[in-house]
Symmetry: C2
Subunit: 332 residues, 2 copies
């Protein structure tokens, strides 16, 4: 059986372009015992994939030239030689960018499409939702009545953090970079306050005003001067989960800033970096809770969906031009 596959044709310098990708025909092997034949339904397109297009060591290994791009995919079982999966099951896994694929049973998980649409398992019930959930709940440890500030608040993770913090009974303040995003945070996602850092002259004072009782949890997606302004309003015994530092990703030299330790010390503050893999033992519990909130209508999620397998390279390139709102997905 022949299928289509997208391979890395060359490594990009700076922004990726269509020439870095190539769509080829690929002959699928026969499925063996312990394997399944899958048809892809939804492909996740994520910023971290850009890093894997470089030939540099990181926690995820680089893609290889002339080998397929891989990513999170939701697929349907067409044939099965595994006791764990039957025909028509919906599964999720890290899989190659192909229309159909043969996969080992050990890298797949069945997903329950009765509690949420299948595509949600790439976002709110996938890495995005779990990052928000565990970062906030396990490191932030919110208590009702506390104040939570989220930077990068209109990003895929940020909107989930804010909504979970509201469910926990917190006062929630988001920081984002356009008036449209500020409106969205307040009107659609229920943030109590939202601040446009690009149009606010005194960010520190604006945060102080939006947080009259100070900041108990700062969920940091961006780093840099925005974080300096938040941390200058931090309370005794505050928690700062470090989820992203996107404002610093393009720095070549070591970025400098005010030393944090005196503030963290005198106010007994906790700051902790994490990646979602640290919590993998608890994923089932997290997915269950997130699915429940989604079902109850307490957790909303935004997806940008492109249609057609051949749109995958353009969707990935589009991520870096800000063409998406929330999670970027390609539907087969």
């Amino acid at each position: 059986m022949t299928t289509k596959q997208i391979v890395l044709a060359s490594r990009p310098k700076g922004l990726p372009n269509p020439g870095n990708f190539k769509i080829i025909n690929f002959e699928l092997p026969e499925i063996k015992t312990g394997e399944v034949l899958l048809k892809a339904l939804y492909y996740s397109v994520d910023p971290y994939m850009r890093g894997r297009m470089n030939d540099a060591k990181s926690y995820a290994p680089p893609f290889e030239i002339d080998k397929p791009i891989t990513g999170s995919i939701i697929a349907k079982v067409l044939q099965s030689k595994s006791d764990n999966f039957k025909i028509a099951d919906f599964v999720a896994g890290m899989l190659p960018w192909q229309e159909e694929m043969v996969a080992d049973e050990n890298i797949l998980k069945v997903i329950d499409t009765t509690i949420a649409p299948a595509s949600y398992y790439l976002g709110i019930l996938g890495m995005t939702g779990l990052t928000a959930y565990f970062g906030l709940m396990q490191i932030g440890k919110p208590k009702a009545g506390e104040t939570v500030v989220v930077s990068g608040a209109a990003g895929a993770v940020g909107v989930v953090v804010g909504q979970i913090a509201k469910i926990q009974g917190c006062h929630v303040v988001g920081i984002a970079g356009t008036d449209e995003k500020i409106r969205l945070l307040k009107d659609q996602f229920g943030f109590d306050e939202a601040i446009n850092y690009k149009t606010t002259a005194h960010l520190k004072n604006a945060i102080a005003k939006a947080c009259p009782k100070g900041v108990d949890i700062y969920f940091d997606n961006v780093g840099g001067e925005i974080s300096d302004a938040v941390i200058s309003n931090i309370n005794f015994y505050a928690r700062i989960p470090l989820c992203g530092q996107i404002s610093l990703y393009n720095n070549v030299e070591m970025p400098m800033g005010p030393r944090l330790q005196p503030m963290l010390l005198t106010r007994s503050v906790l700051m902790q970096g994490f990646i979602i893999g640290n919590f993998k033992e608890q994923f089932p519990e997290g997915i269950k809770q997130l699915a429940e909130w989604v079902k109850e209508g307490r957790l909303k999620f935004t997806e940008t969906t492109e249609h057609g397998f051949e749109k995958l390279p353009a969707a990935l390139i589009g991520l870096f031009k800000g063409e998406n709102t929330g999670k970027m997905i390609v539907e087969a």
Copy 2:
């Protein structure tokens, strides 16, 4: 009954001097029900007292002009109208700098002089030991085989941290500022390695060499560039208890340095400020464990002792001239 009392005569600018103190005669009141009459035996003299001589709000309130200096004191019960204390009991409490004093039963604790000398309750079994114990054990969470780096290692807290880390089976590296201290750390306190930051050209490299498996716990007493050098050698999942930032205490402007968050994020590191009061519910457990190690000879402690009540002002002034090794105590 008349006793002697030391009061704050005037507030110092910069280093305190003898003129800031005054020894006066003080008429003790009759003891009432629930009170005891005490004779002071040992006075604790600590750097934090300098802050209380200023008229500025902090977590400890300022001393008042013409009112007695107060501090940790070990005393013996001379008379008792309390059911909790009997004559000849040894007690510890925050008490005024007087030769004798009347005190409420609620601010005193009996100490057990059968397990350690009374003066130890001002140091290794007092704030100093408890700060080392809870900072290392509760925030650092050492595991056998891990590497622990301590800055300000020859200070009263530092030597205790290093010894507890050795008891936990860790590889222990101290950083201090004189060759005499380096010798002391290795010969007397059992540190595996010790680095003189003043005579080491490439501190980052020296730490890397002393820590071939990287740094799992960094117990930070000093902050600044020494901390930058340690943190550039930090391991995945490391813990950084922030105990002091003495290198920055005299800064007037906000000190600048490399931004830490990218490193803490990519390596899933925890950094946490604390003061010993955060752990007060667990003090009895901590004292018990520390006393056991002292009794077994596994935990050594250095005191500098001055003799005579009237030496108290000079002992406090001497702290800021580096005249002490380890804990500074005045014996009555």
